[in-house]
């Protein structure tokens, strides 16, 4: 019973971070209809950049993290401007495969600049542990979840009240109508990519400050896809609710299934969930079912 509580708390907190990364995907998908399969690599490169700033250059944490945010925004802008803008109005197949090319490119860059495969970030968060009931949880997890929660609230406020946020929602609804209203759609696209990259970067920093930087961060990005699929591709609420569900399933399932099956089952559960969702309810919990016409 003790371990169940432990699994639940770890699962919920990690799930919040997944949801954060997944939100970046939903942004891009809703505004420009591009499926960003380079999510894992975006998480990877921002974590390594954090390592470069904090450890290799040796900056204090707050300057370093600020630079990471700026780097992520620049990355998002460059990606949209030079990779995706030439492909506006191309078939979905090209839009998906070009993000795969991007994934390849980023992975090469990471190998090129940071040839080691494993590194540890300095501790950004305090190291104490907290006892909740019988479970022992480290502050890092709780803070990660807290930061994610604060970001969710900020983002939803942004979309509710900020002019740009409203314009982004309008673009998601109808691109042509938005253009007719005089809103620069390309600017919205590049804004949504910047958001996606920043969220991936924050998610990456949170994950790697807990578990260190490994190639596994790419899988963290891939797990965000299972959040997106379970929650529904075009639903912010879906991503926020599905994130903790995936985290829970991963940790509780991993905890109890590992003795029954093989080690590492924890990392496969999100992908098994993807397959199950595909069979049962392919548009996810909150996704809008697209009805096509010929």
């Amino acid at each position: 019973m003790d371990e169940l509580l432990q699994y639940i708390i770890t699962g919920l907190t990690v799930g919040m971070v997944y949801a954060l990364i997944a939100l970046g995907f939903v942004f891009v998908w809703k505004s420009s209809g591009v499926a960003n399969l380079a999510l894992g690599q975006l998480v990877l490169i921002s974590s390594w950049f954090t390592y470069g700033m904090l450890v290799q250059v040796g900056l204090p944490a707050w300057i370093g993290l600020l630079l990471v945010i700026i780097f992520a925004m620049a990355l998002g802008w460059i990606t949209e401007r030079f990779v995706l803008r030439p492909l506006i109005a191309q078939p979905i197949l090209s839009l998906i495969t070009i993000t795969l090319g991007l994934a390849y490119l980023i992975e090469g860059l990471v190998n090129f600049i940071w040839p080691k495969s494993v590194a540890a970030l300095p501790h950004i968060f305090p190291q104490q542990t907290i006892h909740i009931g019988t479970a022992v949880v480290s502050m890092e997890y709780l803070l990660a979840a807290l930061i994610s929660l604060v970001l969710f609230i900020l983002l939803s406020l942004y979309f509710r009240y900020n002019r740009m946020g409203i314009a982004m929602r309008a673009t998601a609804d109808d691109q042509l109508a938005v253009q007719a209203c005089g809103i620069p759609v390309t600017k919205i696209f590049s804004r949504s990519w910047m958001f996606a990259c920043v969220l991936a970067a924050i998610g990456g920093v949170l994950m790697s400050s807990i578990g260190g930087i490994t190639y596994g961060l790419v899988h963290t990005g891939l797990k965000a896809f299972s959040v997106v699929i379970l929650g529904g591709l075009d639903s912010f609420l879906g991503a926020i609710i599905a994130g903790p569900i995936i985290g829970l399933a991963e940790n509780v399932g991993g905890g109890y299934l590992t003795p029954l099956t093989w080690p590492g089952v924890k990392d496969v559960i999100p992908f098994i969930i993807i397959i199950i969702v595909m069979f049962l309810k392919p548009y996810g919990l909150f996704g809008e079912e697209r009805i096509e016409r010929i």
């Binding site: 495969t97 980023i106 090469g108």
Partner: protein
């Protein structure tokens, strides 16, 4: 359109033939002679490159049927190749069955697993399908890595060389004939498949699946058939790969390899027979060139240590992105343009 002027067809058979003129036939003959004598003047190293190209052509042709003709995006191709490789390895190593049994069952098992993971394609497409095939790849590799009693797990498995009717294919030269022979069969099959009812149904599904369904094409059957054929060829390629390398572990089947396959057929040109061939030759030779040049460049210009490992993926990524932006129809389209201009030369109007 594809023929020089002055060629007339008097029968339907002649109109449908792949090789129509004497030039076609003589070029085919020259190609066969070159391929047949290739082991005589290539050393082992280049023969191994040729073998890798042959194996990749088989797998890429399968993926091209799935993506290029039927429009079902699959990013788990390396996973299906792994299924084929391990099926063949387990059957020939642990059960000591003949190579041909391993080869066929590798194709069949791979095909069936492809069908299982392809079932979502009946309801979803595009990104959803891409994600479910990525999931398929990760689940397959996880099972292979941990089902140690059968697959050897992380330690890998030794694969005996291929053997047909008393002939053992050990040297690169003999394996070249085996691999190229199967590759030619596969290309011939793919070329003809595209012209049958099945192939035209695939193209209709790619262009608009709802319209295809209204016209009486059974979507369920044809989409799954496309998955079966694509993954069957992946399994065949995997089996050949296993017997060619002689040792298997899952390092050969990473997710990046799947992405590379999608890149190969994008670069080659979707939905054409020649496309995957051009794409594979281009990518594998590029890979070869990079692995040849990178260490030299690194030592002469005193570049950082990650240059050699990082430059390959970087170049592939850039090539995929550039092709999608500048020439989305791939090398096959360039090849068509070249043929058209050469046929009309010097009077292009």
């Amino acid at each position: 359109m594809d023929l020089p002027s002055g060629i007339r067809n008097y029968t339907y058979d002649r109109d449908m033939a792949i090789f129509r003129t004497k030039t076609h036939w003589s070029m085919l003959l020259i190609l066969f002679v070159i391929l047949g004598t290739l082991p005589l003047y290539l050393d082992n190293h280049w023969l191994s490159v040729a073998n890798l190209i042959g194996i990749t052509i088989i797998a890429a042709t399968g993926l091209n049927i799935l993506i290029g003709y039927c429009g079902q995006l699959s990013i788990g191709h390396a996973g299906f190749i792994a299924v084929g490789a391990y099926t063949s390895a387990v059957l020939t190593n642990r059960l000591e069955l003949p190579f041909l049994v391993g080869l066929i069952s590798a194709g069949l098992l791979s095909g069936f697993i492809g069908v299982v993971f392809g079932i979502p394609s009946v309801r979803v497409k595009g990104f959803y399908l891409a994600i479910s095939t990525i999931a398929a790849q990760i689940i397959i590799i996880w099972i292979i890595n941990h089902w140690e009693s059968v697959t050897g797990g992380f330690n890998g498995i030794v694969v005996p060389p291929a053997k047909i009717a008393g002939i053992t294919f050990v040297s690169q030269g003999s394996q070249f004939y085996l691999i190229i022979g199967i590759a030619i069969l596969v290309i011939f099959f793919a070329k003809n498949l595209a012209r049958t009812r099945v192939g035209r149904a695939f193209i209709a599904i790619r262009d608009n699946d709802l319209a295809a369904e209204v016209m009486g094409i059974n979507l369920f059957r044809y989409k799954l058939l496309a998955f079966f054929i694509g993954c069957f060829l992946a399994g065949i390629a995997g089996s050949l790969l296993a017997h060619w390398i002689g040792f298997m572990n899952t390092e050969n089947f990473r997710l990046t390899e799947s992405i590379l396959y999608v890149g190969i057929i994008i670069i080659g040109g979707l939905g054409s027979t020649i496309g995957p061939i051009l794409g594979v030759v281009f990518i594998r030779l590029l890979e070869k060139g990079i692995s040849f040049l990178a260490p030299t460049l690194e030592s002469t210009f005193d570049l950082p240590a990650g240059f050699t490992t990082g430059i390959g993926p970087m170049v592939f990524g850039i090539v995929i992105i550039l092709f999608l932006i500048l020439e989305p129809r791939g090398l096959a389209h360039r090849w068509q343009l070249f043929k058209a201009s050469y046929r009309l030369w010097p009077f292009s109007y």
